[in-house]
Symmetry: D2
Subunit: 366 residues, 4 copies
């Protein structure tokens, strides 16, 4: 199946494996006339790089992006933008261990079941490095959204039992802390918790939240292409995500209607809501209030503790996974969540431009 | 946007509003040679009908399905199957109330924001009746999956604070109880809780779980078209769903890797897992164990309690929604969750048939 | 495969067989706010009805269209428009002949080869009646295009050796003559030719031309989704079409560049072309001049002359096809060509609305 | 619009401009297990290279392809295959001429009309170099088709008034001659004709024919996704193609049914046809006989003769296009036609694998 494409009008196709020659993405459907250079994209890639903090692997991945097409004299031409990130430091060291057995919590076994064999070096296509293309494309979507007055921000909401205190939300903190928490205090507690995990040769899960401001009411669709449905797919397509919530999310199942309904109020001739349990979406369509989504990330499956598994000769064995691995996936996935949200929102905004007959007649008769 | 289509190879397109002449679905891509009559579909539609229990509205919706095309001499021909359910008892009674104001928790406002106006009778396209097409198409997907050895079952996991005890899971109970809980005792407790809600002029949310057995390992895709991503979209596209979980779902964010990883074991020359925290999906691809997904459903937004809102003249008003409404959406949505899961699985199984070169050469050279 | 859907943003899905209960189409992605009733659609369906002239079968097909959804208070709501045409006069008379053998020039054999069996009554899904859904949907596309200032017209260019004289093009004639030729004289000659064909128990092919005026420059796409590529697919998807030409079409292969290139001229500050060999498309994108496409239609395969063929027992036999059949397909296909062209143009115009960044920022920041 | 993607299951996305850093293609949906290296692809790219004969420009384009992903240990993994061809010899010489005016017959004006500006170096995205991605992907499709027993061959049928004599068809000749004609004699005559054209500072059009053998009956779809419809789109999407024919093509419009119908015969228990006017397709589905399609190619629009046009200041000017250009596009487009046909056939064969219920149950229950 051709499953490496995302989006309808603003459509991206990613490619590349962890230890191949390069990874990349083709962005097709980007409007003409956007100023674009590598400098617009690189900062987002830098946010997902490892080797930057005590809780991420000290591997050095330079991950320098190069624009190969679609930009002329500093502006997008409307034709496909091809971005490439060469793999420079991926050494195919000793992969005999993961070549011959199925690591628990990884896709090794399911890849073999589907394709008959797999690229086992560094996880191949199911490596976290697969997200490079998403993040690079997301950077372009973000730049366009910003020019439309729409702003998307993701951050770490919790790591294991440690949650950020949203009362003292600090956007700067989420960009500076090792955990990407928007709260310096929670960051310190989470780092302590993660050190404990590492001592126990174990790993931790966590939650990423993403918000969008400036999204006008009316974006999305009432049935299968609900805005929340597409966001759910976008986030669940990120490796390690096992649950997605919109607004109050799982709490709605234990709530009552009188609590969960958001009252409408007219304020200065504009519709507003007194609360936002809905997370900015009603009936699959944005309601003009802040968009709120959350992704629950499972603990890093690669751990140093010994685990039971099976090798390719169908023998039951025990393995302790060698090498270096982060005790938590969350901080490096924050920018991926941001990217996937931005890609979804931009595509939906584009699709919305034909919702009314007057939009067409205005456009074609001016 | 053309948002009423779902699926790639087995593709359905639904149409119809709550109070229009009819609702329906076109199923395109159904393989030729399947025995099919209205009797295969009607039982699924009957499961979503209201007026059947103390907790659903006493409206009578006969919801009789008719096959209009695609079946010849009792078998599907491979061409589109058009199914129609006439709207017989939808009387356009007094809709002046909802015509002129935005009901909290409903899509009234967002429809107006998107399209400039809306069909306000009975909720129009965003009515729960929109799911008739999904359920009818799902019935066909279920029949095919069963012939492939795959079985999908959904049931109510909880209503408000009352959860089914999965230790005494009883499939029969879920088909017979008013709540669709697979546990007669929990059903009784939940009904009592819902009566309380009704007395308080309020409503309740709940959780639907869906499992699939017999799904072989290898179904799904590693990147954007992950099996879990498509399931998340399928379920989140059902009105009132605000969160979707796979396997342990939200619990993974507070779990450790040593707990969350499922150990592999070779048993009689077959790969199995000792636990199933993953809910049957690893790296976006099925692992051969039971598939487990959950949808969190918000409380019915239509409640008798007075609520603050705005009318179309942008005046702040208070409304108490008239008419009849269920205190909980969950029981009637169970078969919808089942249908959306079946539609997703069948489509993914079809897409999987070209995963290996040998599948093609075997098919075309025999 | 799900092959009954056409279009990206303005997307139609047709269904129905010649002798089933009904035929129909679901139009998804129609903008909200279009005035629409059955009266907008019926005249187009009437143009493809048989039993109207000496050269079409005297069968009576009333083909009354009914709108089942998507229209509220006389206007489209933005949700799917379901149109149905009941089959009233299709009597399953004696089909033993075509049930048991493969008619030359028809899809009987290929349907069996693909699906294992077929609906043989009246041609099933490959009957000309399949085009009802296309024409009904095309009527809506035409209405929208007209409001955008774009006008599409198809007519019979030739029947067998008889061509319309384009020097005396008369739009009225094409709507009134039995042949749909825009030239009363050619019509008379063509009718005489067709009578001859009928006497010889034979049939004739012909050419349909379609033009569009008012299409602005800039519609289409440079690579796979070229405007001409999509028009070619649209027209070649009509049964019996065996060749499609754009502008000078096949003549370009024997032309020289100095002849074939259209010179540009600036006239009153507007770009025009001195000639239009290109038929209004350059590099896959409309150039603002008249769009010109042609479809070559094969002779009606059902003829009274005896033909050699094979029956389902693989015996070589001879058949003379019974019943009534038109000596030429062309006149009834004219409105189908018009519909497919309109559907293609509208969809492309919609897709064009995100071609430049300024289109988005203008739309979202006003 | 995202218009650089072609195919459903075997899906390619091309990118790159004539004078950018590189051109390339991402092939997604290629089955796992195919032996693949650059050596499989390079020969096809070499067939479209210029600078090889007296009738193609002496520019040196090395056009070396590199596989960047999707292949592991010499076999495809089922994940996206990224192919890149660096632009090595494209010097941005003096483009002031084409930067400031619209070349007749080229897409310069329509690009500006759509996107607001254009990459004018070497034609940008609408250069013939855009086809590199198509040809590279087509090579992979060809290799798979061959393993399925399906063989695709394209050749030059005519150049201007000179046609190959199909009675003495010689596959070798089409690979060796400068014109790609399968007839050495016609090649000589055509070369003489082209020299004349060049002397007159003019260019010529021509016809490419493509045949496929071994395609089983049953491939394709009855309505919008007819095999011929998809082939028509595939070929018309190649720059300079202005008409597409299937089988007898344009001749059907002047034929009679008794001539045009192909009689069926049972030979050794197999259905065959006595003639093949249909070109191997009936009712949109392959009939098991040879597939025959033709593309009519317009004359090279770049000619040395002076032409009238408009510059970007909207002034009427006269230009004579400088530089080097081939007097005919046809020979270099032959392999492109072959590639697009192969891509279409492979995708359709894949889509056909779910046409019958028994195909699914056989696949999943073995």
């Amino acid at each position: 199946m051709a499953g490496s494409t995302f989006g309808n009008i603003f459509r991206i196709t990613t490619w590349g494996e962890s230890h191949g020659k390069a990874l990349g993405v083709v962005i097709d459907g980007c409007p003409a006339g956007l100023s674009l250079s590598e400098e617009d994209i690189q900062p987002y890639l830098d946010r997902r790089k490892p080797g930057q903090t005590s809780i991420s692997t000290p591997r050095k991945e330079s991950d320098q992006v190069e624009i190969l097409s679609g930009v002329f004299q500093g502006k997008t031409t409307g034709t496909p933008i091809s971005l490439m990130v060469p793999n420079t430091s991926q050494k195919s060291s000793d992969y005999s261990q993961i070549a011959s057995c199925y690591r628990p919590g990884h896709g090794d076994y399911t890849f073999d079941a589907k394709y008959g064999f797999r690229d086992y070096t560094g996880g191949g296509r199911s490596s976290g490095r697969e997200t490079i293309g998403r993040v690079a494309a997301g950077a372009i979507a973000m730049k366009i959204l910003n020019q439309m007055g729409i702003y998307v921000t993701a951050y770490t909401k919790s790591i294991g039992p440690i949650s950020a205190d949203m009362a003292c939300f600090d956007r700067e903190a989420s960009l500076k802390t090792a955990t990407c928490m928007p709260d310096y205090n929670a960051d310190r507690l989470a780092l302590a918790y993660l050190e404990e995990c590492m001592k126990r040769k174990d790993s931790s899960g966590g939650v990423i939240e993403c918000i969008a401001d400036g999204l006008p009411a009316g974006i999305g669709d009432p049935v299968f292409e609900k805005l929340d449905a597409n966001l759910a797919k976008a986030l669940m397509s990120i490796g390690a995500v096992k649950a997605v919530e919109i607004g109050d999310g799982i709490e709605v199942s234990n709530a009552t209607g009188s609590h969960n309904n958001d009252a409408f109020r007219s304020v200065n001739g504009k519709i507003t809501k007194k609360t936002n349990h809905a997370g900015g979406i009603l009936g699959g369509i944005s309601d003009g209030s802040r968009l709120i989504v959350r992704a629950h990330i499972k603990p890093t499956p690669s751990i140093f503790s010994p685990q039971e598994t099976v090798n390719q000769n169908m023998e039951n064995i025990e393995i302790a996974i060698k090498g270096r691995h982060d005790p938590v996936i969350v901080p490096r996935a924050v920018v991926v969540v941001e990217a996937m949200t931005a890609l979804t929102l931009l595509d939906e905004c584009m699709l919305n431009m034909t919702a009314r007959l007057s939009y067409l007649t205005d456009f074609y008769q001016k």
